[in-house]
């Protein structure tokens, strides 16, 4: 079942769609709208500490003074193409793994903080293949399906999110550090006054300088990567 839906996602229902008597594994990923997002630290201290296995100051968003609060997101899709691409992902997942049942739902329109924006469930005879298939599907959805989010901030303004690169940890064909991540500001230059606006770095400057901003996707660890063709 593949669906774009303006109504809230019922995760329990989505999971029930993949129940199959020949499957011993049902895996579901639910992507939710993050209310609090830590801004990147000015230097690489956090990353260095993490690499060294040391405690990371400011690692918790709740203790990070430089964080941003999202009130809600607005998702937009090129619906016709999004459905075509999601169907292609299903076909490829079924080719790669013994997927018995599959459900992929993405919400569109306004999504309040902490609500689900996407749910992907698969059932397979065994758990390892179910985990792999579900992970592959959400990673590919984030790369291939024409859906965009606009973040609306509690403090100030909003912006469309257009990540153009980064160190994606999805394990696919990312090109790593030479990729950029760019955020397209909605706010006009000169009106930026808040943490939200601080994020909305000037697009052209970001492009020319290779500026990297924070990870911006609804699941914490995602960063965009190179697009891989099916």
């Amino acid at each position: 079942m593949i669906e774009l839906n303006d109504a809230p996602i019922d995760a329990t229902h989505v999971l029930s769609l993949v129940h199959d008597p020949e499957c011993g594994a049902e895996v579901m990923f639910v992507g939710t709208t993050r209310q609090w997002t830590a801004l990147p630290m000015a230097d690489n201290t956090a990353a260095d500490n993490r690499a060294a296995g040391k405690p990371v100051a400011g690692n918790s968003v709740s203790t990070n003074p430089d964080r941003i609060e999202t009130s809600h997101l607005v998702y937009e899709a090129y619906r016709e193409m999004a459905l075509v691409q999601m169907e292609k992902l299903e076909a490829e997942a079924r080719r790669r793994w013994p997927v018995r049942r599959l459900a992929m739902v993405h919400r569109l329109g306004r999504v309040a903080a902490s609500e689900a924006s996407v749910a992907i469930a698969v059932s397979c005879p065994h758990r390892s293949e179910a985990f792999e298939a579900a992970k592959w599907l959400i990673d590919q959805l984030k790369h291939q399906v024409p859906i965009w989010k606009q973040e609306h901030y509690v403090q100030h303004g909003s912006q469309w999110i257009h990540p153009t690169a980064g160190n994606c940890n999805c394990g696919s064909t990312d090109q790593g550090a030479d990729r950029l991540e760019n955020m397209i500001p909605t706010d006009k230059p000169g009106t930026a006054k808040s943490a939200a606006a601080k994020l909305a770095a000037d697009e052209n400057a970001a492009l020319s300088k290779g500026q990297t901003t924070r990870p911006i996707d609804s699941d914490k660890d995602y960063q965009p990567s190179e697009v891989s063709r099916l």
Binding site: G31, V74, Y75, E76, A77, Y78, R79, E80, M81, A82, V84, Q85, H106, G109, S117, V118, I138, L141, K142, H143, Q144, V145, P146, I147, W148, K149, Q150, Q159, W160, I161, H162, P163, T164, N182, I184, T186, E203, N204, L207, I216, D217, S218, D219, Y222, P224, V227, R229
Partner: protein, 109 residues
């Protein structure tokens, strides 16, 4: 939010004689480009008409799109293109009657 979900297809063999085609004198064809997210926001519309010469590639269309709407320049550089709901490369030759969309970096999920 409402949006035209399909692009009007153009029959290029007849389009040059269309009375509204201001480019017919110079052999140009009008191509409709669908825009989304920040691209639509910047352009202020969800669809732009771009004049291109016959058998133009998407690379050519892309350049002319920026001429029509300079605000899209930076975003165009990072965007992919779709023809009839499939991603295509910039050397794709536009041959009429297709839905052409500029696909800025996606951020679903």
């Amino acid at each position: 939010m409402t949006r035209r979900s399909t692009t009007k297809g153009y029959d290029l063999t007849h389009h040059a004689t269309h009375p509204d085609d201001t480019h017919s004198q110079c052999g140009m064809h009008a191509v409709e480009v669908q825009l989304f997210a920040a691209a639509a926001e910047r352009a202020g519309v969800r669809q732009l008409t771009v004049p291109v010469p016959p058998a133009a590639s998407l690379a050519e269309l892309r350049n002319r799109l920026v001429q029509v709407c300079p605000k899209l320049k930076a975003l165009v550089a990072n965007s992919r293109w779709a023809v009839d709901c499939e991603f295509v490369e910039l050397d794709f030759v536009i041959n009429g009657d297709t839905a052409i969309a500029m696909i800025p970096p996606v951020s679903g999920g």
